[in-house]
Amino acid sequence: MKLSRRNLLKGSAAAGALAALPPMAIADDVIKVGSIHDLSGIFDIYGKPMDKAVGLVIDEINAGGGLLGMKLEKISYDTQSDMALYTQYAQQLTRQDHVNVVHGGILSASREAIRPTLRKAETLYFYNTQYEGGVCDRNIFCTGVTPAQQSEVLLPAIINKWGKKIYSLAADYNYGQITAKWVQHYAQANGGEIVQTDFFPLDVADFGATITKIQEAKPDIVMSILVGGAHMSFYRQWAAAGMNAKIPMASTTLCVGNEHRVLTPAEGNGIMVAYSWSQERDTTENKAFLEKWQKAFGSTDDLHELAVATYSGMNLWAEGVRKAGSVDRMKVIEALETGISFEGPAGKITIDPPTHHAINDVLLMQVEDQKMKVLEVFPQRPPVDTQAVCDLKKNPDDNQQYEIKI
C-alpha cells in the first residue's frame, strides 16, 4: 500500500505539470460550444443533422458579430453510436477543451452517461432530443418533446376518429416502456382501451407472428412505438399482409428519423403522428429556416425534428447568454430560468423554469405521400409528465431521472 501511495503521488505530480498547459492555450475572446453526437454507427441518421444544426447556429451568430462580442467556436466529437465514447469525449470536452456549453446526446443511455460528468465539471448541458421525460437536474435543459406532450394530443384524436380498442407495439427499452405507459394513460382518459402491449428489442425484424396475433385481438387501432432500422420492417410486413387497408395506425416514433420517406406512399399513408415540427408547417419562420438549411447544406432531406430541437436549443442558450451578459454557468442558468423563449421553425418554444424542459407547440399530423401533413396545431403544451415529478425551484439540488408513476 505504501508503494502504491507513493506512485499515486508521483503520478499526480506528473499530471499536475501536464494540466498546467491547456488553460494557457485558451483565448478569452472565444466561446466554445461542445457538440457530441453519433456521426457514424447506427444512430448517425439522427446525429448528423443535429451536429449540422449546432454549426448552423454558430455560423449565424458569428455572422451577426458573435455573442457578447465574442466569436463562437464549435468543438465536435463523433461518438460512433458507442456509449463508452460518450463518457470519453465528455471528459475531453470539459477537461481538455474547457467548453462553455455542451449540446448533444441522442439516446437516453448516452445522456445518462454524460450528465454526471458534465454536472461534476460544472459545464452547462443541453439535451435536444425527444425522450421519455423525468430528468431533474439544474445543470441540464431538455428541449425535445416528451411522451405526455405527444400522447395528450395524439390519443384523443385517434380514438375519436377510429375507435376505442388499441394494440400497442413498443421498442423494448426505457423510452418504449415509459411511452407505452403514457399511451395507456391517455387512452383510458379518453375512453379507450389498450388490448395488448408487445415489446420488441431493437434488433427484431421479423413481425410475422405479431401480425397474426394482432389480427386475433381485432383492435380498432395499432399504436407503434417502434424505434430504429430493424423495426422498419414492421411497416412493410404490415402492408405486405394487406393489413394497412384494414386497421389504421398511429405512432409516436415514425418520422423522427425521416422514416416516412423510406416507406412507399402505399405503406405509409394515413399513419397518424404528433411532433413539435414538420417540414410542411406553413409559417414564415419555418420557410426561412428551410431555405437557410438548403443554402448551407444543399438539401433539407435529412432534416428532422431532433435537428430542429437542436437549432432551438442553441438559440435558447444564446438568448440566455445575452440576457445574463456572461457565459458564467450559474448566470446563464438563472437567465434561462426566467422562462426565456425562442420563436423559430417549430413555432414558439419556451423554457419551463421548474423542470428545465420545453413548452412546445405540438402538431397533429398524418403521413401523406411521404410528407407529414399538418392537421392541427396545439400551441404551447407544457411537459406535464416531468412537471408531475420535478420542481427545481423547490429542490435545486435534485439530480436524478424520475420514473414517472402514472
Binding site: L8, D78, Q80, Q92, A109
Partner: protein, 338 residues
C-alpha cells in the same frame, strides 16, 4: 531464481510504462485502454496458451461490469462489487467451460457455443427495461443499462473515490499484477500441462492429464480476468449497457489479440492499447468508417502478420542483433515447454 528476476524485470518495465504513458495521453483515456488491455490479456491466456478460441469473452467482461454495478448498488460497498466482478464471471465461466469441455466439443462447435452464450446474454439484457427486472434495489435497465452506481473508493477512505488519475494507477497496477499472475501460472506445472494440451491434446491425455479439468480451470481464470476488466470499465464509464455483451465487443477482443500476437501475453495488451486508442482517435476526425478500418486491419493481420505485431517485431529485433542466437533458441525451447 530465474523466475524472480523475470518478475522483477517485468514489474520494472510495467512501472516505466505506467509513468511514461501519462506524458502522452490523458489519464482518463489511459484508464479505459488499461481495461481493454486486461480484457485482451484474458483472451491472450485462454486462446494463446489454452488453445481455446472463445468467441464470447465479452460475456465475462459484461458479467463483470453488471456484477459490480448490481452488487455495488445493493450493498453500497463497491469493494464487495469488485469481488463479485471476479467471482460471478469465474463461476459462470466454470459452468460453461465444464459443459463444453466435458461435452468434448471441438473447435468450431466451441466457437458456436461461446458465441451463442454471448448472444443470449446480450438479447436478455436488452429486454430488461421493464420494472420487473431488478436484482435487489438495482434495476437492470435494458438497453439503457445501469447508470449511477457507487464507484470504487480508496480502501482507507471510503468517501474518496478512485477517479481519473487514481483510477488509472489502480487499473494499471492491476494490469501488472494480473500479467505477473498469468506468467506464474504458465510457469507452474498446471501452465505447462495447459500448453502441452494446446500442442497435442491426445498426447497430453494419454500421459494422464485430465484435459477436461485443466481446460475448465483455464477458462475459469480467463473469465475472472475478463470480469476484472469489466469492473474497471464500469468504474471508468460510470454506466454499463448491454453493449458490453455485443458481437462487436467480442470481435474487438479477438482483433486486439490476433493483431497484437496470440501466443504471447504482451502482444494482446499492446494490440488492445494501440487499436483501442485508434478507435478513440478516429472519432475526433471522422472520415472513414471505423468498422471499415478495423475490418481491413483484421484481414491484413491474418494474411500478412499471422503471428501478430509483437512476435514479429520480436523476431525482427533478434534477427537484427545477430550476436545472440543462443537466447533465441532457449526462448523457443522455453515457449514450447511452457
Amino acid at each position: 531464481m530465474k523466475t524472480g528476476r523475470e518478475i522483477l524485470l517485468t514489474a520494472i518495465v510495467g512501472f516505466i510504462f505506467m509513468f511514461a504513458l501519462p506524458l502522452l495521453l490523458s489519464h482518463y483515456t489511459l484508464t479505459v485502454l488499461t481495461a481493454f488491455a486486461i480484457l485482451a490479456l484474458s483472451l491472450g491466456f485462454v486462446w494463446g496458451y489454452g488453445g481455446i478460441l472463445c468467441f464470447g469473452q465479452a460475456a465475462f467482461y459484461g458479467l463483470g461490469g453488471y456484477a459490480f454495478a448490481v452488487a455495488a448498488i445493493n450493498t453500497q460497498m463497491p469493494w464487495l462489487g469488485f469481488l463479485a466482478a471476479i467471482l460471478i464471471p469465474a463461476i459462470v465461466a466454470a459452468l460453461l467451460g465444464a459443459m463444453m469441455f466435458y461435452g468434448r466439443l471441438s473447435d468450431v462447435y466451441m466457437a458456436v457455443v461461446t458465441l451463442v452464450f454471448t448472444l443470449i446474454l446480450f438479447k436478455f439484457m436488452n429486454t430488461t427495461a421493464g420494472e420487473a427486472y431488478r436484482i435487489g434495489s438495482a434495476r437492470l435497465g435494458g438497453y439503457n443499462g445501469i447508470p449511477g452506481f457507487p464507484t470504487l473508493t480508496k480502501p482507507w477512505n471510503p468517501t474518496d473515490y478512485l477517479y481519473n488519475e487514481s483510477l488509472y494507477y489502480f487499473a494499471f497496477l492491476l494490469l501488472i499484477a494480473l500479467y505477473l499472475i498469468v506468467r506464474l501460472i504458465l510457469k507452474s506445472p498446471f501452465g505447462r500441462a495447459l500448453v502441452g494440451i494446446r500442442e497435442n491434446e491426445l498426447r497430453a491425455e494419454l500421459m494422464g492429464y485430465d484435459v477436461r479439468l485443466l481446460k475448465t480451470v483455464a477458462f475459469t481464470i480467463g473469465g475472472a480476468i475478463a470480469g476484472i476488466a469489466g469492473c474497471i470499465f464500469a468504474n471508468w464509464a460510470e454506466i454499463i449497457t448491454p453493449n458490453m455483451f455485443s458481437l462487436g465487443q467480442s470481435s474487438e477482443i479477438i482483433i486486439w489479440t490476433i493483431v497484437g500476437g496470440a501466443g504471447t501475453l504482451a502482444g494482446p495488451i499492446i494490440g488492445a492499447g494501440v487499436l483501442g486508442y485508434l478507435k478513440i482517435a478516429l472519432g475526433e476526425n471522422s472520415g472513414l468508417n471505423n468498422f471499415f478500418i478495423m475490418g481491413i486491419v483484421l484481414i491484413a493481420a491474418v494474411l500478412f502478420l499471422p503471428r501478430g505485431i509483437f512476435p514479429t517485431v520480436q523476431s525482427l529485433l533478434s534477427r537484427v542483433s545477430l550476436g545472440r542466437p543462443r537466447q533465441r533458441i532457449s526462448r523457443r525451447r522455453r515457449s514450447r515447454a511452457g
